[in-house]
Every structure is written in C-alpha cells, then in structure tokens.
C-alpha cells in the first residue's frame, strides 16, 4: 500500500493555502488582485498515488501538438470519478500498488513504457487495471476542451439553421 495522506501533510497543505493570499496582501472579503492557482488536493487517492496517476494518464495520452491527459486534468477527473465507488477505487489503488511494486517510479521513460505495455497485455487483475485506467483516461480526456475541441476538432452543439449533411462529390 502506498503512503496515505498524513495529518502533517494535510496541515501543511492547508497552511500553504491560507498563507498565500495573506502574503499577496489580499484583504478578507476583497476581490483578489491576483488569481492564485492552488494545487489540486486529491480526495480519494494519497498524494503519491495521485502523482503516479498523473504520470500514467500522460503515458496513455501524451502531449503532442496538443496537450496530453495530465494537462487536461484527467488525473483530477479520475480522483473525482472513483469517489463513492469502492470497487473501482479498490481496483485503481491495487493496480497502482502493483505497478509501484514493479519499480515504476525508479524506471526511466523507456522502461516505464515497457512495464505499462506488460500491464496492458496481462490477463487478470493487471490487465483489468490497465483497461479501467485507459477507459477513465479516454472519458476524461475526450470530454475536456483540450481533448475534444483542440485535439479532435469537435465543432458540435451550436446553432445551425439547416443541416445540409454530406456535400462531398466523392461520397455521393
């Protein structure tokens, strides 16, 4: 099992979150002059697990000409998605433990790909973990603006007076 968020870590995060606005001179109740992006605090995964998820989803859908899964917030999507679903949460956490036990974090990029490939081709729990992680990554990435609009070029859900359909000579 990976490390659980400790009380000390939680306090540290909370302290950082409250300290920043003060440091920037923001008065209580006043509109902040500077938007401060606080790092996402995972609710269903331990920090180490969350870091692992971030790395893994970015291997499944990496950045190319468009940003990849981590930049699209898929790690956070997964943390939120497994909330209240103990079976799924268990599968994800067990899988993360298994991949960490196989030394994932200490491997270089190439060996990480080899290890994840091994998982993706495995029967049983390892294979199921990979497919679940891949499914969640696909759902999260291709429902984000980065994945659906920027990467795939989705142009829908807008106002069209007429729908003419296919007008390509070569299809008709």
């Amino acid at each position: 099992m990976l490390d659980q968020p400790t009380r000390r870590q939680a306090l540290k995060t909370a302290a950082a979150a409250t300290a920043l606005p003060v440091a920037l001179g923001v008065q209580a109740g006043a509109a902040p002059l500077v938007q401060v992006a606080t790092p996402y605090a995972p609710r269903n995964l331990a920090p180490a697990e969350f870091r692992l998820i971030t790395a893994l989803v970015d291997m499944i859908i990496p950045s190319s000409e468009t940003p990849g899964a981590a930049a699209a917030g898929v790690d956070r999507y997964i943390d939120e998605k497994i909330s209240g679903d103990d079976a799924r949460k268990g599968k994800i956490r067990d899988g993360l433990t298994a991949i960490e036990r196989a030394g994932f974090s200490s491997l270089d990029a190439e060996k990480r790909v080899a290890l994840l490939t091994e998982f993706s081709e495995a029967e049983g729990a390892r294979g199921e973990f990979f497919q679940l992680l891949k499914d969640l990554t696909i759902d999260g990435y291709y429902s984000s603006e980065i994945g659906l609009a920027q990467e795939l070029g989705y142009k829908g859900n807008t106002f069209l007076k007429e729908f003419t359909g296919c007008t390509h000579e070569e299809h008709l």
Binding site: I138, Y142, L148, K161, F163
Partner: protein
C-alpha cells in the same frame, strides 16, 4: 375549471398516450383530470447547451440537471436471477417523451396481421386503413420529418417535414446497403425542421437527450398539455402516484386511489371513466393491484392475460469506421441527433427463414460526436494511440438493429408475493427471457450488419456475435394488457376499451398485441387518438 369539480374522465399518466387522450378529449369539451406521478421538468433548467467540460464543472459545483429517470431506490422492482430487465421509467409531466429517441415509423398491415399468418398469438384488432387517418393526423400535429418513400413494411406519409441531410457516413452506408441488396430510406423523426404551432424549428445542437430547451421535438408536456389546458377542460394533479382503481357494484370503475409522491397522503378521486396511460409496466401494475370481489385477479382480468405477454425488442450496437472518412477534416455532424436514415424490415411473406417476425436497422448518429468512447476498444496507448483516435474520430458509423421479441405468457409482470412500496402498494416483478426464435433472429441481424459493413470495407471494432444489449434497453415494453378480437385471449377491444369494464380504457404500449420491429410512440399516439375519439363518441351516445 375549479379543482374538485366532476370530471368526465380521469387519465392516469401524461406521456405520449395520456397527453394525447387528454388533449383530444379536452378539445371536444370533455372535462378531464390527469394524475401524473411526477411534476413538470422546466425547460429553462435543461443543460442542453453545455459542453461536456462545462457540465463537468457544474457537477463539481454540486449542481445537477433535471433527473428524468425514476430511481430504483425510490421505486424498486424485482427480476429473476440473472435476467435483469433494465426498465426506464420517467415519473413527470410528459413522461418519456421528454427524452425519447423520436423515431416515428408507421406500422403496416404486414405487422398488424402477422400473428394470423404465422400462428403465434393474437393479431391486432384493426387494420392499416383504420389507423392510417390517425397516423396522418399525428404527423401533422406533432411534426415528423422524413422522406417520400413507401415500403411494404413502412407505409409512407404525405405529411413529412423536410428531413435533415444524410451525414457522410450515412451516405456511404446507404450505398453499401444498396450493393448488399438492401434499401435504406430516409429516417423519420418527430423533430420539427420548420417552425410549427409556435415552436421554433430544430437548431441542430444535437443535445436532444438532455431535453430540448426550445421544444423542437414532440414532447407531450409542451406540444399537447398546454393546448389542452387552454380549453379550460383539463386539470392536472402532479406528484399523484396512482395505486389502484376502485369499482362499484356493477363492476365499473368508480374511483382512482393515489398518493402524494412526497407526503404519502392518500386521496381517492371519483371517476366516471378511467383512461390508463402510465406506460406499459406501470399501468399493468396498477391494473393487477386493482383487485376486488368482481376482479380477484386485477380489474378487467377475467381472461388472465393482463401481466402476461411482455414483449419488446432485442438489439445490439455495432460501431465501425468508414475507410473513406478516416482522418478527414472534422465537421459538425450533430444534425437532429441520432440517425437520419433507416433500413426497414425487408423480408417478404413466404420467404424461407428459420425464425418468425423480423428486424429493421437504425444507424444512430455518425461522424464527429461529443465523446470518443469508441477509443476504449482501440488497441495500445501513447502517441500512436492518440493519433489513431484522431483518425478514427470523424469516420464513425453505427449500426443498430432492432428485432421483434415474440409475446409469450411466461414473460410477465406480477404483483404476487412482492413487497409493498412506501405507500403500501405491492411492487412488481418482471420475469423475462428470450428464446430460440430471438437467438436465430439475432444471428440474422448480425449477418445483415456484417454484409453492409463488408460492402463498405469498414473497420469494425471487436465484437462477439450473438451478444445483445441488456433486456429492456429498447425501452419499448408492450403486450401486458393486449387488445384483440377474442375476449378470452385479450383484455381490450380495438378501441382500447376493456372487454369486461366498459368505462376503462388502456391506451399505452401495454395494449399492443405484438412488439413489431419498430419504435412505438407514433403508433401509441395514433391509437390513443383513435381510442379517445371512440370514447367521446360513446359518451355522447350514453353508452359509457
């Protein structure tokens, strides 16, 4: 109309069938009360025009769009062992027309008289010529778009609005089907493509499933009930969960018991005539629970057929990719959401086949969708995978055959030995399975899908032949209070009037003797219109 006045007719349910009956009766001067188990879904609250990422952000803020579906926590039901039946129920004004698929296909005499030809169960007690004028009426009233085709299994209409153009993938599917000897026709959908009765034409945002905020597809809550209210002859009680229908000494319906959905308070409204329109399973549950000295098996159930012969359709979903469209520039393919084409049933009476009845094929939407869930079945991960998803994305086509499930006495809804709900009304159990006939038909459905995709040289995602969607996924339940000519084998006559209880009518899908291969709502609307015409006429004559 003041609350509590004498109602001529009490209608249970406000979806396609109840909305139609209430509207038609009210405009004829009949005083109508609707009892619906839910309340109105506010069009202004729909999330129609949110992108997937905007939706996610709203959910993060703890917001939710209107919840159309009744939860199994609020109203449980039972099924047998591993034969789960996924029943979709909407308790709310307009019922399932809030979120229906809008496919609007006429049934033909080949459907109505098929049981007579193949000897399986009972035929419909009317012919196409009897219902055709009502199909015409419904097409004109609700606005159905479609083509000018007229097929043996799919009679044409002179009243279609202009259809949307076929998407690239649909054009290619149509060509491939023709090469395989199959005639694909223009789809028929109850989406208005021209301004109609005060409603704006569809603006092609493709989000119909989230509820239409402009009311541009037929929904009983917008397209029937407000017009009925204007007559001053309709009153609606919301959140009225009907439990039972009571009878008098003559064995006629005399009152309807309902419970406030939220307080549980019991009410009984006197009723001179009752029209059941709560959808197939819910109406049947009420009928079976309406036990009395005269009707120990449920009101109007001397024949014992009520609850039995539950039938719907088997279907599966086969996504594939058109090679001609791989990697093309993306386009807005929303259209009217769902398929713009349809492959009607094509067998001919007398064809040699190893199963009864048949199937038609829908194609749902194709091309660029608001998700890429197909990617879950593409192999690998990493940059190559990402590129592969992008190439496949605009090339998506989808085949979706629907095959008729035979009516069988063993497929049934019952209320014996079930626990009661929070109002003290027995819940129902669904016993359902398919048989050899359906399994053989499913093979033929796969053959047809494969033939078309083979002609197209399409890339098909991995699938297992014979697999079908969950029972109930068609959301086309029928048969549990069927009409027929023989009172020993049916509960209703051809006007949806109970053989045994002259002031009781059942006008929803439960009245269908067969499921057919088609989507039922257009026929439910036509049948409910015809039945309520008959009811008004009989009232005038003093017969009911």
């Amino acid at each position: 109309m003041a609350r509590g006045t004498d109602y001529d007719v009490v209608v249970v349910g406000s979806g396609a069938s109840g909305g139609m009956a209430a509207w038609n009766l009210a405009r004829k001067g009949v005083k109508v009360l609707i009892l619906d188990a839910g309340s109105k879904f506010n069009r202004g609250d729909f999330w129609t025009h949110l992108s997937p990422w905007q939706e996610r952000e709203r959910r993060r803020q703890g917001k939710r769009p209107p919840q159309f579906l009744l939860s199994r926590e609020e109203q449980p039901y039972e099924w047998v062992d591993d034969r789960y039946f996924d029943l979709w129920r909407v308790w709310g004004i307009g019922g399932k027309t809030n979120i229906w698929g809008r496919v609007s296909l006429r049934y033909s005499d080949l459907n109505f008289s098929e049981p007579e030809r193949d000897g399986w169960e009972v035929s419909w007690p009317f012919q196409y010529k009897d219902i055709a004028p009502y199909y015409d009426n419904v097409d004109r009233l609700i606005g159905v778009n479609g083509g000018d085709d007229d097929e043996p299994w799919l009679p044409g209409s002179r009243y279609h609005m202009p259809p949307p153009g076929a998407r690239c993938g649909e054009v290619l599917l149509k060509k491939a089907a023709a090469s395989a000897g199959r005639t694909v026709v223009t789809g028929r959908r109850a989406v208005i493509t021209r301004d109609h009765r005060g409603f704006a034409a569809c603006h092609h945002c493709g989000a119909c499933g989230k509820g239409c905020d402009t009311g541009s597809f037929f929904n009983s809550a917008d397209h029937l009930l407000p017009f009925a209210m204007e007559t001053g002859n309709l009153e609606i009680v919301e959140n009225a969960v009907v439990g039972r229908v009571f009878v008098n000494d003559e064995g006629l319906a005399s009152g309807v018991q309902y419970f406030d959905r939220y307080t549980g308070k019991e009410h009984v409204v006197p009723a001179k005539r009752v029209v059941m329109a709560a959808s197939c399973v819910d109406s049947t549950r009420i009928l079976l629970n309406s036990k009395s000295r005269q009707y120990p098996n449920g009101i109007g159930n001397g024949s014992g057929v009520i609850g039995n012969y539950l039938c719907d359709q088997v279907r599966f979903h086969m996504p594939a990719f058109a090679p001609q469209l791989m990697g093309r520039a993306t386009s807005n393919d929303d259209g009217i959401s769902g398929g713009h084409i349809y492959l009607p049933r094509f067998d001919k009476p007398g064809d040699k086949r190893d199963y009864l009845r048949g199937y038609g094929v829908q194609f749902w939407g194709g091309g660029c969708q608001s998700n890429a869930s197909f990617a879950k079945k593409l192999p690998g991960f990493g940059l190559d995978f990402k590129q592969s998803v992008k190439e496949h994305y605009p090339a998506l086509i989808q085949l979706h055959p629907y095959g008729e499930v035979l009516p069988r006495a063993s497929n049934r809804i019952s209320v014996e030995g079930t626990p009661s709900d929070r109002y003290g009304v027995p819940l129902f159990r669904i016993e359902y399975d398919i048989g050899d006939n359906e399994r053989k038909m499913i093979e033929a459905m796969y053959d047809t899908a494969e033939e078309i995709l083979h002609e197209m040289k399409a890339e098909v995602l991995p699938y297992k032949r014979g697999e079908i969607d969950k029972f109930g996924s068609a959301i086309h339940e029928h048969g549990t209070c069927r009409m027929g000519a023989d009172p020993k084998r049916s509960a209703l006559n051809g006007f949806c009037q109970m053989h045994e209880v002259k002031n009781m009518f059942v006008v929803d899908g439960s009245a269908f003797p067969t499921a057919t291969e088609k989507n039922p709502t257009l026929t439910i609307l036509a049948m409910a219109w015809r039945a309520s015409d008959y009811l008004a006429e009989q009232m005038k004559k003093g017969n009911v």
